[in-house]
């Protein structure tokens, strides 16, 4: 089934694993959860030999264990979960994994945008049916959140702070009263949430101040802040994991040499250090330099090598992809990258005992900068 989908949701992709976990899980489960909290954690963070399972469960989200624990516990409580963090820190991925593990459905998603209306959160009407048969439950289109309430599963709200404050506040009654009333109907006009319903929302910390959450809504959510991964080892794991997934998705047989992965991680670490010490926005790349960006760079390089190169990832291609992905503003970003290339990459490539790949990386990047300039 996953072969027919460009990107299968987590519950489909890991269906077999989830089935197995469910079969061995004998711990008490809250509400209508499909797995116990400990098993959910295990599904997300992977198993250890000390867990005493018969098979190995791979790690799917890389980050502090306590974040996952706090998120799971929040979902088992009365409050909604708001994952907040910089773009590309894996908030949506964690939300998807949690929904998949808890309710085997991660697709009940409302995407918050400037155009999101209250109808997207509650319900809307099929106008033709209303004209034909009048207002009834049959002519009502429930939102993903309402569907989640009816099913007692987890509903997701992506980019909560992108939608306007009045729309956000529609969630207040859903999270407090746990029902939605439909005043247009005379009977059967209340949809009650079944046990197990909760909401995982994500918010981008860079959007803070655009549409701030009201205090009433804030106190109905527990906030879990997901930081940018700065640990090199964890980051390497994430990049490797996600890249392998992408390669599988694109059906590409290509090896990512570890030395190139090191170069990529090192370059991002250097760029982050430079961004941290920059004094103004003009001295800082527009990109958040998150792990997702790294994966984007690597994906770009892989696709480029696959379709336009000689089917082997080279340092030169990686350099070009990095510049191509990060140079968004001209001339600011290009100037920063140019400075970085001459001030950091070049000395690294000339250092005694340096990996020869640095030289290719240097040339590739330099060429990309000159093409874009």
């Amino acid at each position: 089934m996953t072969d027919d989908m460009l990107r299968a949701p987590a519950e489909v992709k890991y269906a077999e694993e989830l089935d197995w976990l469910e079969s061995v899980d004998d711990a008490p489960k809250p509400f209508s959860w499909r797995l116990s909290p400990k098993m959910v954690r295990l599904f997300v963070l992977g198993s250890e030999p000390s867990d005493g399972l018969d098979r190995e469960i791979p790690q799917k989200w890389f980050g502090d264990r306590s974040f996952v624990e706090r998120s799971i516990v929040t979902l088992a409580s009365d409050r909604g979960l708001l994952l907040i963090g910089d773009p590309g820190t894996g908030k949506s991925w964690l939300a998807e994994l949690l929904s998949a593990a808890i309710s085997r459905n991660s697709t009940l998603v409302v995407q918050g945008t400037a155009g999101t209306t209250e109808d997207h959160i509650k319900y809307s009407w099929n106008v033709s049916m209303v004209i034909a048969k009048g207002q009834s439950r049959a002519s009502m289109i429930p939102s993903p959140i309402m569907t989640a309430m009816e099913g007692g599963v987890i509903g997701r709200f992506e980019e909560l702070t992108r939608s306007t404050s009045d729309v956000q506040d529609a969630l207040i009654s859903i999270l407090s009263e746990k029902y939605v009333s439909i005043p247009e109907l005379d009977d059967d006009n209340i949809v009650f949430a079944k046990p197990g319903f909760s909401i995982i929302a994500t918010a981008n910390s860079r959007d803070r101040g655009v549409n701030d959450l009201s205090s009433a809504l804030k106190r109905r959510f527990n906030f879990v802040r997901v930081p940018v991964v700065t640990n090199k080892r964890s980051e390497a794991e994430i990049v490797r994991f996600r890249t392998a997934e992408l390669l599988r998705r694109h059906r590409i047989e290509l090896e990512v040499p570890p030395s190139l992965l090191d170069i990529l991680l090192q370059s991002f670490a250097d760029l982050r250090a430079a961004a941290a010490s920059a004094t103004g926005d003009d001295d800082r790349l527009e990109s958040a330099l998150s792990t997702a960006e790294q994966i984007g760079v690597l994906e770009d390089a892989i696709l480029h090598s696959q379709f336009f190169g000689d089917r082997a990832l080279t340092a030169r291609t990686l350099g070009g992809s990095l510049v191509g992905s990060l140079a968004r503003r001209s001339p600011e970003d290009l100037a920063i990258l140019n400075k970085f290339w001459h001030g950091v990459v070049e000395p690294r490539s000339k250092k005694d005992g340096a990996d020869p790949s640095w030289q290719g990386f240097l040339e590739g990047g330099r060429q990309a900068i000159s093409t874009l300039s």
Binding site: R70, R219, F223
Partner: protein, 939 residues
């Protein structure tokens, strides 16, 4: 026979099963051997871990049961005299050994400082309190001395310690220890980072303190003494055996050799029975395998003598956060340990030992255990049971958790969070859920902290403290110690006594504001003097004047001070190591500053100034002044000349204003300076390394103090010769030399002007004209009389130099003027104000006084000759004046005698009509009537 045979077999089997038969089996059985060995030792070894409530509790119990007569403690032996002082303090405080001047250690290490913090919830404090308050009990510190800490430091580099659990973004209290080397009794932590991270990962905890709490503290808190002892030695042995091969055991083993040697010496000297003694050491050292281990061992160990470094000892305040920061513990862990200890005491009903008279905390218990010492049973294997069964965890203490939740919400509200009862409920529920997920029935403080952050912390922190910090405050909070008055060094006591008239409680940790009206209350004058000395000696904002200043020739009428002596007690205590009074310390520091091999005359003059300001001792000032003369004579560079000039001028002005005669050293300094700078002047002019500013300052000294120098027997010819010998090449210095020559009369003003005009007229030189001007600007200081010429030259330059030459120089001019604003700017501005018109309309008609057209257009203006007999005489005989005018090159010309003012026509007419009165007056003066008429015509 060893009771651990069965366990050893079991571990062997386990090792075989894991497949690593040799290495793993050796480690596992070795651990059991270590435990066996430690337990069989005749002298009872009490293994402890720092900041472990379980250790403190076990210690209190054991002391009550055994009542030993001698306690050997793993603490630097030279800190022993400080222990008795602990009773005057509020804990936590740190025992400190301090040496300002290392002798035998590298000088770059100065100041040497070692601290050993003592908290109330520690096993060592229990032992100290028991020993000091029980008659007939002796406490012996057996670890190497603080001097050896540094001796051994040099011998072997420190091993890689695991990093701290928290980033070093420390609050103010965390800096209480300064940069001292920290010592702890019972440092127990895995020797290499991999083991620690492995334990943390598999223990599913965030940091080491949490791991320790969950896997050792809690299971041991209710355990009996035998289990406690065996488990602690086992853990010590595990960490000892699992060390990286590159890690050095050498220093630790030397410490163990030292401790056992000292204990054997003490036993031999006093004849004490080892069975009635107790050896308190870290669990790591309890599992020692050195050949000196045990009272029966005979292996010798030579303890090297201490170096000649003079160590000072004292107590400084400490705090939980300072201890955490120093030893890399997780933030809040020491506070949580203290709270756990209090709770464990209540639950187990053990009465802890506490020094009589100890400040803060609980009141000492009146109940004393009088039961007979408990006879120990032979050691049995408690390890097998401990290792094979899961720890007995506490059940949920609902009331306690509820209390935490409610209090936290209240605290959060006070700190700006919009938290409510609903949050308390959520925190309660989340804590239990989190603990359940982490496999514990009872939420630990760390689970509670996580739950609180999850439920209360939103997208931003509204106040100064975040929820994590609030939890730490709730669970015990940071406790900050205080060294009692009686335990302070004499200097600190003296300071507090002398500041008593201010009527402030200087022990408070808050900043105290002292207001002094010195005119109304002259009794506060000594306080003010002392505060100024403290201001000079103490770093940072410990003593900070808000109003008032202390400079030569100034006196404050009112002063206002911010005093933080309570907060910065450590600074005051460390000052106390340097002397008995602050004046003595200042004198010592000033003397040391001028005796330093790198001292210069400027440093000595600064010391003189400080001595005058703060000490007022004539003898000492003279001594420092004499040293300044010596230093000046020995100087071979003139780098400090501007500083010397400024200070010398200030001191001379001070003495001239306050004393009838200059002190001898002052005279000697001027005479020496005159000769010294004359000698160095020609070289300074030509030397590229000497700046214009320095040469200008030398000239300033020579010209400004010449009259005094000449009166002291110096020779003007020396200066003249020196100037003649100077042949600078740099344009700025050339300009300076011209100014000097002009000042000495060796060059006329006309010649100077001519040279300047030549510079501006020569296109080849024009680019370097700004450099000449820089020299002229500097010349304002030594030759202020040249100010009109400088203004003229600058004005001409501004008018005639092309922008490409002028503009790049302007920033240099501005920065120079800004840097030396005090000396240069007033002279320049005054002269410019005199030269240039003051109003805009006047500017249109203004012609520079130096322009030739101005000279031609306006004839020489001569003030009206004052009328009188002299003018009449000269007018009557003009030939003499005409001759002088011809000699000076002026055309002879005479002013008309002024007409009678028109405004008094009526008076004149009246007098003409009635001349009698005037004639009578002129008759009195025996003058002719005609003259009388002229006289009358004057107003």
């Amino acid at each position: 026979m060893s009771p651990f045979g069965a366990l050893r077999e079991q571990l062997h089997d386990a090792a075989r099963e894991f497949g690593g038969e040799d290495a793993v089996a050796a480690i596992l059985s070795g651990m059991v051997d270590d435990v066996d060995r430690a337990l069989r030792e005749e002298l009872e070894i009490f293994p402890v871990c720092h900041h472990s409530p379980a250790s403190a509790l076990a210690m209190a119990r054991r002391l009550r049961d055994k009542r030993p007569s001698v306690i050997y403690l793993e603490l630097c032996e030279d800190l022993a005299p400080l222990l008795a002082e602990l009773r005057n303090c509020r804990l936590p405080v740190a025992l400190q050994a301090f040496a300002n001047e290392p002798d035998g250690h590298p000088a770059s290490w100065a100041p040497l400082s070692v601290i050993a913090p003592i908290t109330e919830a520690s096993a060592e404090y229990q032992a100290i309190a028991y020993a000091l308050d029980t008659p007939g009990v002796e406490i012996v510190l057996v670890d190497r001395s603080t001097d050896h800490v540094f001796q051994w430091e040099r011998r072997e580099p420190a091993p890689d310690a695991p990093g701290p659990d928290v980033p070093p973004e420390a609050p103010e209290e965390a800096a209480l220890h300064g940069d001292a080397v920290g010592l702890e009794i019972g440092d127990l932590r895995p020797g290499f980072a991999e083991l620690e991270s492995y334990l943390l990962h598999h223990g599913k905890v965030r940091h080491w303190s949490e791991w320790w709490d969950q896997y050792v503290e809690q299971p041991l808190s209710g355990a009996d003494y035998a289990t406690y002892r065996q488990v602690m030695v086992l853990i010590g042995s595990l960490f000892r055996r699992l060390r990286p091969s590159r890690g050095d055991l050498g220093r630790d083993e030397d410490r163990e050799r030292h401790m056992w040697t000292r204990m054997r010496e003490h036993l031999a000297a006093t004849g004490a029975d080892p069975a009635s003694c107790l050896y308190v050491c870290g669990a790591f050292h309890a599992a020692s395998r050195v050949e000196q281990f045990g009272v029966a061992a005979a292996a010798p160990f030579e303890i090297t003598p201490r170096t000649a470094t003079r160590w000072q000892y004292g107590l400084i305040p400490s705090s939980h956060s300072a201890i955490e920061a120093q030893f890399g513990l997780a933030s809040g862990s020491v506070s949580i340990a203290a709270a756990t200890f209090d709770k464990a005491l209540k639950r187990s009903r053990v009465t802890p030992f506490r020094l009589e008279g100890q400040k803060g905390g609980r009141k000492p218990s009146a109940r004393k255990s009088a039961a007979a010492p408990v006879v120990d049973e032979p050691a049995a294997d408690r390890l097998s049971g401990f290792l094979s069964s899961p720890p007995v965890l506490d059940g949920l203490d609902e009331a306690e958790l509820l209390g935490w939740c409610v209090d936290l919400v209240r605290l959060a509200r006070r700190n700006g969070y919009l938290s409510s009862t609903a949050d308390a409920i959520a925190v309660f529920e989340t804590s239990i859920l989190l603990a359940g997920m982490r496999g514990r029935a009872r939420p630990t403080p760390y689970d509670f902290q996580d739950a609180a952050v999850t439920c209360i912390e939103k997208d931003r922190v509204p106040g100064r403290r975040d929820v994590r910090h609030l939890c730490e405050i709730l669970l015990g909070g940071d406790r900050i110690g205080e060294v009692g008055y009686a335990s302070l060094p004499p200097l600190a006591r003296d300071v507090l006594d002398r500041l008593e008239p201010l009527g402030l409680d200087l022990k408070k940790r808050t900043i105290q504001r002292a207001l002094m009206n010195l005119d109304a209350d002259p009794a506060l004058e000594p306080c003010s003097r002392l505060l100024w000395v403290l201001r000079r000696l103490l770093p940072g904002g410990t003593v900070r004047p808000i109003m008032g200043s202390r400079k030569l020739g100034e006196r404050s009428i009112q002063e206002s001070w911010d005093l933080a002596l309570g907060r910065d007690q450590r600074a005051l205590v460390e000052l106390g190591y340097e002397g008995v009074t602050v004046e003595q310390v200042l004198e010592h520091r000033l003397r040391r500053a001028v005796r330093d091999p790198k001292a210069t005359a400027a440093v000595a003059l600064e010391a003189v100034e400080d001595a005058l300001l703060y000490l007022g001792s004539r003898r000492f000032v003279d001594e420092l002044g004499a040293r300044a003369v010596e230093l000046l004579a020995a100087e071979r560079t003139v780098d400090d000349a501007p500083e010397v000039l400024r200070r010398a001028r200030r001191l001379l002005a001070h003495y001239r204003a306050t004393e009838p005669e200059l002190p001898e050293w002052c005279k000697a300094f001027v005479a020496e300076g005159y000769a010294h700078y004359c000698t160095l002047l020609p070289t300074a002019f030509t030397d590229d390394d000497t700046g214009v500013r320095q040469v200008a300052a030398m000239l300033g000294f020579l010209f400004g103090m010449e009259s005094l120098a000449l009166s002291l027997g110096c020779d003007h010819a020396q200066l003249e010769l020196a100037v003649r010998q100077a042949h600078p090449e740099a344009p700025a210095k050339v300009a300076l030399l011209w100014a000097a020559r002009s000042q000495l009369g060796l060059m006329s003003l006309a010649e100077l002007r001519g040279r300047c005009d030549d510079l501006l007229g020569n296109p080849l030189v024009v680019p370097s004209v700004p450099l000449y001007m820089s020299g002229f600007v500097q010349a304002l200081e030594p030759a202020p009389a040249l100010a009109p010429v400088v203004v003229e030259v600058m004005s001409k330059a501004f008018a005639r130099l092309p922008d490409r030459v002028l503009l790049p120089w302007l920033p240099t001019l501005i920065t120079t003027l800004r840097e030396h604003a005090r000396e240069l700017v007033p002279v320049l501005v005054r002269e410019a104000a005199r030269t240039f018109p003051a109003t805009l309309p006047a500017l249109d008609a203004w012609v520079p006084p130096w322009s030739p057209s101005a000279a031609a257009a306006s004839p020489v203006l001569v003030a009206d000759a004052p009328p009188g007999p002299a003018a009449t005489l000269l007018a009557a005989h003009p030939s003499a004046c005409d001759a002088i005018a011809a000699l000076l090159g002026h055309p002879p010309g005479w002013q008309e005698s002024p007409a009678a003012p028109a405004g008094h026509a009526e008076v004149t007419a009246l007098l003409a009509r009635h001349p009698v009165a005037l004639n009578a007056i002129s008759a009195v003066f025996t003058a002719s009537p005609a003259q009388g008429t002229r006289l009358a015509a004057r107003p």
